[in-house]
Symmetry: C2
Subunit: 219 residues, 2 copies
Amino acid sequence: MKDFTSTPSPVKHIAEPTVRRLSGYLRFLEAFDAEGHETISSGELARAGGTTSAQVRKDLSFFGSFGKRGLGYGVKDLIASLREILGLDTRWPVVIVGAGKIGAALAQYRGFGTHGFDVVGIYDTDPSRVGTHLNGVTVRADGDLEGDIAALTPRIAVLCVPGEAAQAALDRVVGAGIRAVLNFAPTSLVAPEGVTVRAVNMATELEVLAYALTNESRD
Amino acid sequence: MKDFTSTPSPVKHIAEPTVRRLSGYLRFLEAFDAEGHETISSGELARAGGTTSAQVRKDLSFFGSFGKRGLGYGVKDLIASLREILGLDTRWPVVIVGAGKIGAALAQYRGFGTHGFDVVGIYDTDPSRVGTHLNGVTVRADGDLEGDIAALTPRIAVLCVPGEAAQAALDRVVGAGIRAVLNFAPTSLVAPEGVTVRAVNMATELEVLAYALTNESRD
DNA sequence: GGGTGCTTGTGAAATCCTTCACAAGCTACT
DNA sequence: AGTAGCTTGTGAAGGATTTCACAAGCACCC
Ligand SMILES: NC(=O)c1ccc[n+]([C@@H]2O[C@H](COP(=O)([O-])OP(=O)(O)OC[C@H]3O[C@@H](n4cnc5c(N)ncnc54)[C@H](O)[C@@H]3O)[C@@H](O)[C@H]2O)c1
Ligand SMILES: NC(=O)c1ccc[n+]([C@@H]2O[C@H](COP(=O)([O-])OP(=O)(O)OC[C@H]3O[C@@H](n4cnc5c(N)ncnc54)[C@H](O)[C@@H]3O)[C@@H](O)[C@H]2O)c1
């Protein structure tokens, strides 16, 4: 054991790849649980997550001891622990900015809700879209954004506006108090310190694939 | 200079994070070029890409010397070099499997085309969707998949089918010769050696944000 | 033509992440 | 109760990536 006298919280600093893997473990465990399994070994989790058993154990050991030696991990227990670690023991209200093709698809995506995220508002500048219904949520005018964020206190915003409008949309949601943003526009945004911005960039994903195909030379 | 007598190709092995950053540089450079700038320094690129100037220079130095000391990098030259490195000096035909909300949004996404990827086919099992047009491409029956892949020789497939159907869809496109896949279903897939599968997982992205918010304790 | 100010390219150091290897611990079975 | 067979948890080693720091090079100006 280390000398933890100066760190009251048990968590020091977890790298993003680790958090991504934890999320992957959680997703597989939910399916595994639905199949009726009671326990799982680090090796099985590793195969599902595309990593190694040692990596799985290391990842989990950052947060405590969840397994039983000789047996493995209790599936339900591990799900609960991972949910708590990831901050999913509460539901997260989310706003979507931009009700175009991608914004609408996301608003109607049920996977959001089953993972603890609730779309509480979706906003668009186009008057012809305002007032339409998407999966129970009504599209509202973008002028309502600040007031709604103050009232509904979502902590995450998803940006689905055109690239030219993305930085302005980010500035607005940040100004309204949002500190975590998922950006679908293919623009790199600058955010103030303390605001986490993650980008989902289709072009980058395809380019990584193109690179892999171009350089598939060896083993 | 190193001793390269045993490596005919100048590229040894580039980590995926590096490729991702290169893709980001390229995207910013295209916008920077459109604004009429002639040159850019590693520091400017770093700020846009959320990294450091040393990182930018290291990333580029894997592939050669593209800059001029005291001046920076020629924007157009660097764009051309990055395109070649990433394998974007040719166009990539792509097939989409699943013409639902996400598949349709992607098929109509113009950003695909402007980055060198052409949607040459989109497939669905639902007879009511087959025959509809999306951005100039007609939805075809999923039975046409193998024949079309043989005829059109796309090398990348994008999976937009429900989670239960994703592994089967992967197996089919791989069987038909595809070796690079972008998966939107929230399922972890197993692919044979030599096939690159990348997953875009909304739940994971949001969970990383939730984790960041939950542990936003320290800078 | 020499000096000044910037910026690149790159070894070396530092940091971060992954893999290895094994003692410790649990269960089940004889 | 003792033993056999797995599987976890974790220091230590190993690799990989990032950061540091600085010499070398170019342009512009006086
Ligand atoms: N369609 C895709 O598959 C896809 C894929 C990846 C990324 N993207 C990106 O996602 C973004 C949206 O794409 P899309 O295909 O949904 O485009 P879209 O044109 O269908 O939708 C954009 C919507 O944003 C609205 N809008 C514009 N400015 C706004 C503002 N300031 N505030 C609120 N709403 C605003 C528009 O009225 C429109 O309804 C783009 O940046 C695009 O590059 C799209
Ligand atoms: N909608 C979103 O915003 C969103 C976001 C992230 C991930 N996803 C994932 O993307 C996938 C598709 O989501 P969606 O919202 O577009 O669902 P959807 O139901 O609108 O579309 C799925 C489509 O796939 C077709 N399909 C089913 N089996 C098929 C097969 N074997 N071959 C070809 N086509 C087949 C269906 O007919 C349907 O048209 C799902 O796995 C979902 O979890 C969706």
